[in-house]
C-alpha cells in the first residue's frame, strides 16, 4: 500500500460504488442498509481475497514453500495474511464506520451485533479463501474464483438492501448465500427490517452453523505440508 498508493483508491472504490448506486436508485431510503451491506461486502471480500492473493504469492513467488519450512504455522500465516487484507480495507472501513455512526447511530447492543456478524463473515470467508489458495495451482483460476465468490455472495444477494425488495421466488435463492443471513440480522438489528424472532434465531443458527462447517472443511482440506 505504501509502495503502490493506487491500491488504496481501488480498495475504497469497490464497496463505496455499490453503496452510491443503491443510495441513488432508492433516492436515499436505503442508505442505512447499504452502509451495513458495504461493511458485510468489505469483510467478506477481504477474507475471500486470501484465495487469489495467497495463491499469487504461493504459485508465482513460492512464498508458501518458504513459510512452510519455517516455524510459522498455517494458522498463524492465515491469520496474519487475513489481517493484512483488513489493513488494505482500512480506508473504506473508516468511511463506512463513520457513515454508520453518523447516519445509522447504532446503540451499543446494535454495534455488538454488527461486529459479531462481520467477524463471522470475515472468519468464514478467510478460512474459505485460505483453503482455496493452498490447493490452487494457477493464479488466473484463483482470481476468477475470488471474483466469482465475491459476486455470488456480496453483490447478487440482498446485502445492500432488505430481502423484502426482491421477489419471493428469488428470496429462496438468496437464502443459499450466508451473507443473506448476515444482512438480515444487521438490517433487523438496526430496525430496517422487521422479522419474527423465530426467523432471527434461525438466521443466527444458520450463520454460525455455516461458519463452523466452512471452518472445519477449510481446516481439513488446507494443504500445508503436501502429501
Amino acid at each position: 500500500m505504501k509502495n503502490y498508493p493506487v491500491v488504496l483508491i481501488s480498495t475504497v472504490v469497490a464497496p463505496l460504488s455499490l453503496l452510491a448506486v443503491v443510495t441513488f436508485v432508492s433516492k436515499g431510503s436505503l442508505f442505512g442498509t447499504a452502509i451495513e451491506g458495504g461493511l458485510i461486502m468489505n469483510f467478506f471480500s477481504s477474507g475471500i481475497a486470501l484465495s487469489s492473493d495467497l495463491s499469487h504469492l504461493k504459485n508465482d513467488f513460492k512464498l508458501q514453500d518458504m513459510v512452510v519450512s519455517s516455524p510459522t504455522s498455517s494458522r498463524l500465516y492465515m491469520s496474519g495474511m487475513a489481517l493484512a487484507e483488513i489493513v488494505y480495507s482500512i480506508p473504506s472501513l473508516v468511511i463506512l464506520f463513520v457513515l454508520l455512526a453518523v447516519y445509522v447511530r447504532p446503540s451499543l447492543t446494535q454495534t455488538a451485533v454488527i461486529f459479531v456478524v462481520l467477524l463471522l463473515m470475515f472468519t468464514m470467508a478467510g478460512a474459505l479463501g485460505f483453503m482455496l489458495s493452498t490447493i490452487s495451482t494457477d493464479v488466473v483460476q484463483s482470481f476468477a474464483f475470488t471474483r466469482l465468490l465475491s459476486l455470488l455472495f456480496t453483490t447478487l444477494p440482498p446485502v445492500y438492501y432488505p430481502i423484502t425488495y426482491i421477489p419471493k421466488k428469488f428470496q429462496y435463492f438468496a437464502y443459499l448465500s450466508p451473507t443473506t443471513y448476515a444482512a438480515e440480522i444487521t438490517h433487523q438489528a438496526t430496525g430496517y427490517l422487521v422479522i419474527p424472532n423465530s426467523l432471527l434465531l434461525a438466521d443466527w443458527i444458520i450463520l454460525v452453523g455455516v461458519s463452523v462447517i466452512i471452518l472445519v472443511i477449510a481446516i481439513k482440506n488446507t494443504r500445508w505440508r503436501e502429501i
Binding site: F61, L63, D65, M66, S69, S70, P71, T72, R225, I227
Partner: protein, 300 residues
C-alpha cells in the same frame, strides 16, 4: 557437528510417478552439499521432503537428530529454504522482503530490522535496501532471497537451483556468497550446473531417475569413475595405441582419451616424445556425471 540422514526415502506421486526410489545416504551438516542430476531426476522432490514441505511415500530422514517426519516443528526452527523459481515479491523493497520473512519466523520488529540490515550489508546490498525488488536485476533479486534466509537463525539452508537463469557473472558473484555462507552454515544445494557443484560443494550426490547413483567428494567420485584422466588432442593428431581407455572424437576432430593414471602418464610421455600438442587433466565432474548418468544423457 551433526548429520543429515536419509533412509530408504521413496516418493511416488498421485499420478504414480516415482520421483525418489529408495534414497539412502548420510552427510555431515557442515560446508556445502551439492545434489546434481538431470531435470526430473528427483532433486526438488528430495529437497522438499527434507525441508518438511512434502511427505515421502516411505522411508525416513533426519537432520541433526531431528526426525523430518515426526519433529517438523523443532526442525523448522533450524532450517530455511529458497525454493526453485522463488522470486522476491516485486512490490516490496529488499529490506521489506527480508524483514517480513523474519517477522514470520517470530522475531520482534527491532531484531528483525537489525538482522535484515546486517544480512543485506553482508551481501553488499545496502544500496538496494529501500529499492523495490521489481527494479533489481535478476542476480540481485536472487541475492535478496539468499539474504532473506541468511538473516534467520537457521543453520541448515536449502537452496534449490539458486543460480538457474543467471548470467555467468551473476552466477560467479553468487558462488562467492555461497562459499562464504557455507563456512557458517550447512548448505544443501541442488543444481544442474556441474561446474557449480564442482566449484562449491564439499560433497556431491548424483541422482538419476530418483536413485542416488553416487555420493562423495569430487576426489571420491573421480575414483568411482572408470577412468580418472582425460587427454585432449587437436584434430588429426595421431592417437597412440591404448592399453586401457576409451577414445572419443568430437565433431571438429578433437580427440578425447579417457584412461587410468598409469596409462595417462605413459601416453603423455609418448605424445611429448612425438612432439604432439596435448592437454592432460583429471576427469571433471562433467565426465563423471555423463559416465554415471549414462550414454543416453550424452547422446541427448
Amino acid at each position: 557437528m551433526g548429520t543429515l540422514q536419509c533412509n530408504s526415502l521413496t516418493k511416488i506421486y498421485e499420478d504414480k510417478r516415482k520421483a525418489l526410489d529408495n534414497v539412502t545416504f548420510t552427510v555431515e551438516t557442515s560446508g556445502i552439499f551439492g545434489l546434481i542430476g538431470r531435470n526430473g531426476a528427483g532433486k526438488t522432490t528430495l529437497i522438499r521432503i527434507l525441508a518438511t514441505e512434502l511427505l515421502p511415500t516411505s522411508g525416513a530422514a533426519s537432520i541433526n537428530g531431528f526426525d523430518v517426519l515426526k519433529q517438523e516443528d523443532e526442525l523448522r526452527e533450524r532450517i530455511a529454504i529458497v525454493p526453485q523459481e522463488a522470486r522476491a515479491i516485486r512490490w516490496m523493497t529488499a529490506e521489506q522482503t527480508v524483514l517480513s520473512y523474519l517477522l514470520w519466523r517470530g522475531y520482534t520488529y527491532g531484531d528483525a530490522k537489525r538482522l535484515a540490515d546486517e544480512s543485506l550489508a553482508k551481501l553488499g546490498l545496502q544500496e538496494y535496501t529501500n529499492v523495490l525488488t521489481s527494479r533489481l536485476s535478476g542476480g540481485t533479486k536472487r541475492k535478496v532471497l539468499i539474504a532473506t534466509v541468511m538473516a534467520s537463525e537457521a543453520d541448515v539452508i536449502f537452496l534449490d537451483e539458486p543460480t538457474t537463469g543467471l548470467d555467468p557473472i551473476s552466477r560467479r558473484e553468487l558462488w562467492e556468497i555461497l562459499r562464504a555462507l557455507g563456512k557458517e552454515r550447512f548448505i544443501f544445494l541442488t543444481t544442474h550446473y556441474l561446474e557449480e557443484a564442482e566449484e562449491l560443494a564439499d560433497k556431491i550426490g548424483i541422482l538419476k531417475d530418483g536413485k542416488l547413483v553416487s555420493i562423495g567428494t569430487l576426489s571420491d567420485l573421480r575414483k568411482s569413475a572408470k577412468y580418472q584422466y582425460s587427454i585432449r588432442l587437436p584434430p588429426n593428431a595421431p592417437v597412440p595405441t591404448l592399453k586401457d581407455g576409451e577414445v572419443t572424437t568430437g565433431a571438429h576432430g578433437n580427440t578425447q582419451v579417457m584412461t587410468n593414471e598409469e596409462e595417462a602418464f605413459r601416453l603423455a610421455r609418448l605424445l611429448s616424445d612425438q612432439g604432439t600438442q596435448f592437454s592432460i587433466n583429471p576427469v571433471t565432474l562433467d565426465d563423471i556425471f555423463f559416465y554415471l548418468v549414462g550414454q543416453k544423457a550424452r547422446d541427448e
